[in-house]
Symmetry: D2
Amino acid sequence: MKLWGGRFEKSTDELMEQFNASIGFDRRLYNADITGSVAYAKALAYAGLITEAERDTLIDGLAQVREEFAAGTFEIKAGDEDIHTAVERRLHEIVGDVAGKLHTGRSRNDQVATDVRLFLLDAIAEVNGHLRNLQAAIVAQAESHLDTLMPGYTHLQQAQPVLLSHWLMSYFWMLQRDRERLDGCAERTAVLPLGAGALAGNALGLDRARLAEELGFRDVTPNSIDTVSDRDFIAEFLFSASLIGVHISRLAEDLVLFSTDEFGFVQVDEAYATGSSLMPQKMNPDSLELARGKTGRLIGNLVGLLTTLKGLPSTYNKDLQEDKEPLFDSVDTLVITLPVVAGVVRTLRVNKTRMAHDLSDAILATDLADYLMRRGVPFRQAHGIIGRLVRKANASCIALSQLAVKDFQAEHAAFDSDVYEVFDFVRSVEAKDAVGGTAPAAVKTQIAEAQALLNAASDD
Amino acid sequence: MKLWGGRFEKSTDELMEQFNASIGFDRRLYNADITGSVAYAKALAYAGLITEAERDTLIDGLAQVREEFAAGTFEIKAGDEDIHTAVERRLHEIVGDVAGKLHTGRSRNDQVATDVRLFLLDAIAEVNGHLRNLQAAIVAQAESHLDTLMPGYTHLQQAQPVLLSHWLMSYFWMLQRDRERLDGCAERTAVLPLGAGALAGNALGLDRARLAEELGFRDVTPNSIDTVSDRDFIAEFLFSASLIGVHISRLAEDLVLFSTDEFGFVQVDEAYATGSSLMPQKMNPDSLELARGKTGRLIGNLVGLLTTLKGLPSTYNKDLQEDKEPLFDSVDTLVITLPVVAGVVRTLRVNKTRMAHDLSDAILATDLADYLMRRGVPFRQAHGIIGRLVRKANASCIALSQLAVKDFQAEHAAFDSDVYEVFDFVRSVEAKDAVGGTAPAAVKTQIAEAQALLNAASDD
Amino acid sequence: MKLWGGRFEKSTDELMEQFNASIGFDRRLYNADITGSVAYAKALAYAGLITEAERDTLIDGLAQVREEFAAGTFEIKAGDEDIHTAVERRLHEIVGDVAGKLHTGRSRNDQVATDVRLFLLDAIAEVNGHLRNLQAAIVAQAESHLDTLMPGYTHLQQAQPVLLSHWLMSYFWMLQRDRERLDGCAERTAVLPLGAGALAGNALGLDRARLAEELGFRDVTPNSIDTVSDRDFIAEFLFSASLIGVHISRLAEDLVLFSTDEFGFVQVDEAYATGSSLMPQKMNPDSLELARGKTGRLIGNLVGLLTTLKGLPSTYNKDLQEDKEPLFDSVDTLVITLPVVAGVVRTLRVNKTRMAHDLSDAILATDLADYLMRRGVPFRQAHGIIGRLVRKANASCIALSQLAVKDFQAEHAAFDSDVYEVFDFVRSVEAKDAVGGTAPAAVKTQIAEAQALLNAASDD
Amino acid sequence: MKLWGGRFEKSTDELMEQFNASIGFDRRLYNADITGSVAYAKALAYAGLITEAERDTLIDGLAQVREEFAAGTFEIKAGDEDIHTAVERRLHEIVGDVAGKLHTGRSRNDQVATDVRLFLLDAIAEVNGHLRNLQAAIVAQAESHLDTLMPGYTHLQQAQPVLLSHWLMSYFWMLQRDRERLDGCAERTAVLPLGAGALAGNALGLDRARLAEELGFRDVTPNSIDTVSDRDFIAEFLFSASLIGVHISRLAEDLVLFSTDEFGFVQVDEAYATGSSLMPQKMNPDSLELARGKTGRLIGNLVGLLTTLKGLPSTYNKDLQEDKEPLFDSVDTLVITLPVVAGVVRTLRVNKTRMAHDLSDAILATDLADYLMRRGVPFRQAHGIIGRLVRKANASCIALSQLAVKDFQAEHAAFDSDVYEVFDFVRSVEAKDAVGGTAPAAVKTQIAEAQALLNAASDD
């Protein structure tokens, strides 16, 4: 069955039919599509366009279609070009000609926009849940490593000592911003398109506000022309997904590095590693590499949609059918990647000894500069002095703390024998106690704040 | 002057110096950089790390540097690798060694993040203003065309008649969503990085909350490691800019089409058109084509940054220096494109006659189906009937309204001689009176709502 | 069965298994995988690592596996994480422990690279064939419209008259360049990876040159480390596919415009159009819109892979598993899009009358300037003169040819009464007879050259 | 001066003028533009459209303009909207009205296409030279490290020992493919657009073949409509540049890792490193990080252009003006990045001891499996056995070579006391002697082949 054959003399080219069909991927919208149709049947009845009996017939028929889909018994037939056609065709088989009344004043243009928004609202909630679980895994690890020191890096060169907890928590906040962005996206998604018709609006006295309420939307769209071609909410989701991907790729990069033989800071649990078909000794952090690699497809999906949208004329054009596959793919990618990464974090084994051992004196050079600065040497001058001391120690192949007092004093008279007290990683960390710093106290505050956010979220 | 030479024995390769330098583009951050430094000087004094006299010396010196930049007399010197170095170097020339105290506990990592956020907050406000002006131009045109009919299209084929105002207003709402997204972006940008140091936080007892207030940020960042490599706010802006670009590209596409000889609906004012070096008759809508074309660079900038960020290890890596050029380019692109497009819209000449003349009877086919539906024919059946009538009229090369009553009745008995009343474009438009529809009343409501939003915005 | 379990104590997390598995999409490589394995078995025998009997057993077993795949009876089992595992597992079931000898010295790293290259070589040939068919459809239409005039546009404004054939042929050459690029890509793809092992090369005396010949590669890869992570050939294909997409999008854009009611130049055959579920009169060029829209996904696939590759450490990383889905998707997209577009071109109905009618006098303004130029007026001056005449005619609402001789002469004395001879569209077109111009003779030469290229190609 | 003002009554809006102008970036095309104009003057004379004296006047005048540009004395004036206008305006000032004859039959559409192709041909040659230099630096390092062992990685886990030379050479071949792609791009760029006019071709009897020869093009474009909007060659260059960027990003990633404290394999020369403004001990490989980061902009430029091109109607549209900035930026990015990276490679210090020390016994697990395989154990079974041995050794915290003979034999009877001979990294490497493997002999062959390619290239 086609929803539009009347004015056509010829049948569609076979390959064209396949090219045009979206049922292969949009069938997963069946639930949203039927939910929308049930609400629409109620609205038609409320507007007096169908009787209450017709409404009930339609709703019962739709319930049966939904059950068939849920049970996996729904059969796609030739000509079911999309989910809307398939549902209406089957409904007609079940309830007869009254099925033909359901589409009154409705176009697939406003219908599919409604379906996708309903789908996305569910998807955002699901992704948000997975983000929350990953955050919880991070917080749990962070809590158990409040006394684990590690080198902090910039440019991947040892910079200053930090707490492992602090490093872990840095990812919590990235994900928190992701969740905020998803919330904004959800708000812009929760606006009802139904009633926009093909492009010009509804002429049958439908109460769109009531429809919105029925379907759980917070408002109705304000302009029917905009409505039928607005895919901003999908683009926004794809962007948010891309940024989640970027964050995950950075976490994965860190963990892949940290689990090399050379760093040896952490070990990915065997449950999240795989081996080699050739090399018997291998245990590879595939989970993390895949998670990192999948950032590509998330960004690719975003670019694909933006490019498709660019330069389109007003209202609905068939190009817009290309919105769904990238959306589904990005949702699916996140829905599997996030729990895997959460699993990796939750089961991660940390080699505290190796981390502690890896810290070198030079990582405290800034603390040395601060030492001078507190003795009145302008920081910029102190920086130069310590730089030269680092060079001197390197040249003699000794650690900074192995320089003699006179070596220090040769560079500046303000040095005293208490300079050796600076060489204390714990003290260095504890000093960074401003908000957001790596001092244990500050990190505890961070964790407490994070837990409050997680608890608030789980109340949603 | 370098901020870091101490531990180096060799000088930098000349080409490397050029490769590494960002002063060529980050000098435009001078104002933000100095604003940040003034606040930092106050914070250092408040924390007792410098005296009030030193603070005042620094602030006065910085004021002079700012004036030199503003006056265009500031001279970039060899070795000024970035704006921070240039400012500190000059400050040192003016106030002497006390300049070396300004960088106490501060790293370029938290400094540049502060600068860029300050810059972006200003840029968002500016872009928002331009969006508002474009919206106002749209509303003004829409108000003056509340009785102008035009064909509404889907798939670029005539679909249903709409008001020109309604079409215009569709762009208002796209831009409104853009402004909402920018607001969200601004909120996430207005969080202070200063005090994060290189990556580990601040050890000098700085009051970050007070600094945030001083600089107009709504909060401080919660984790120093995240802080120094967080470029999410830039990516978010670049995405918002891309979507603005997509919207502008669609408006441009519509207007380029509408101003062809073949459509002839509108004419771009000569002030926004250009000619050909070869063909004397040409008057081309270059403004719109360029606006459409520039969407490419906006999307390219977004992709560039996301790709740069992907897979980076934790904290600051020099790759992040690549954040500024795409940001500046997208800001500059919007800041010139939006007012040009606003000018085009404001001065657009509309050919009402041509639009009205272009409407064909077939565009009322849906109204005919509604006619039948109201006489009890299920819509799906009515749709098929009208489709066949369209085909019949086409075959006879006559308009739909030129079919005889018996032709109508040959398809369905429900047709009556009052069917000809359907062929009334105004009536068709007036019927779409649900919220968001194209009926004049509904469009007036839309416009009123839009004006309320614009007025609210101008109160900001 | 896993190919690597030995050193693992724990089993893989269930979700991780699903995350890691590629069998869902790489099973379509079964044919290439088995072809590669057959050749590898021969190479092992040739190197004396297995007996000839073992080789034959392996080859027979592989033949059976291939048949099962071809017949659709091959059963994927739990643990078949990828096509290589699935084939080896099944081979083991068929031939027993000798199956375990097939992987000697081979890694999945060089194996999958071989598979994908074999797949891509076939895919390029297929895409090339579809490009050729589309080119042939273009040439066929071009041949039958050597006397059809149409307005040529720049900036979508009427510019100069051209032949419809000439416009059609412009797309021939874009596709010709696409084919050249694919040829270059195929050449770089036809280099054998097998024998690179996991990354270090082969230690078993395999004759790689012989293997290459056996499998139809033109050479062997020169460096094993590069070999196992080289995906350049895929990126190059995805780029070529993107540019094909861009070309198709432009053809689609032209045809969508030309088939509007307002242009009315062409009509897409009903077999490649679809209707509306709401509006009975609609016949939409969906085929073209979808073709245009799919350019987004082609570009998205390219971006996805480039982003995945960016910043990867040397040799194989699991991220590379993300290479196949974009490749498959771009191949599939082209393999369905190109024949549909060829069908549209082949069946396109052209409205010659409408095109001819649409030509306006002003489109000959350049010919008028040439008229003056030939009378000694420097072109730049002539351009200005004609520009003013166009303005004058517009102001009087008359055609350029309706200006009186004295009007012409008022602008320049060189005008004579023979100026009216310029107003001849055919003459204008015929004058553009330099190579590549729109004169019928030049276009015939073009078509002849195109046919020669097509004939040469079909001899391949 | 404008090249087109005649038919316009109003002047251009000021902001529009700025928006429209390309002189800010296309002035760097001055040399190509003048070269093209000189050739065009000759062609006009040859076709009898100007006298030989006029031709010489034009050529002399153009020579003067070129000198002014070269000397930096050329003054851009208000109204010089692009380089073509600026040159023609200045030429007019120098030679008077005869300047107005130069544009006869030429449009900026074919002119700019000619300019950009000339520019790109030069740019490709330059980039090719830089690639060659980088390749030479790689070969030089590779030659001096033919006996340096290092761990080879897959998944960043130690996999098999390789030669440092072999690892280095892997990048040689990536760049070699890049150069091949650039050659293909150059071939498709070297086709003359001049004579295509605005879109319809040339009506003045110009000899395009002669023009092509004059300007060093290998052929003329076959279709004028295609010619004026063909930007494929730019897209192809931008893609090639992106892939170069990807390769550089991978080299940079490796080197950044290898120069961490934890790997310690290499040290970037101080001339290519920079320090920290806060942390005195830092010496960061900024050169490599920036090189890696710039891959983003290269990919962004590609995406930007592809998006701009997507869906454009036929022939020239002003959107195409957006082609030049990404082209220039990608050229400039490569022209500075490649020599910096070559400098890094050339001056890289290698820590052979650290590399050798880093090799662990487990990296020879595959050699152990081969040991068993050569004793008749099917490889797959051998793989499992060695895997269990690795696990056993790990459990006892001993190296694989510290297992007793009976431990080996407990897993399989084929083990003998000669098993310890396997634990020889040099032997392992030497065994990989098939073409493309890491055996010193094979790597020497590689290097010889590479040098032959470099020598051939320098003969160009």
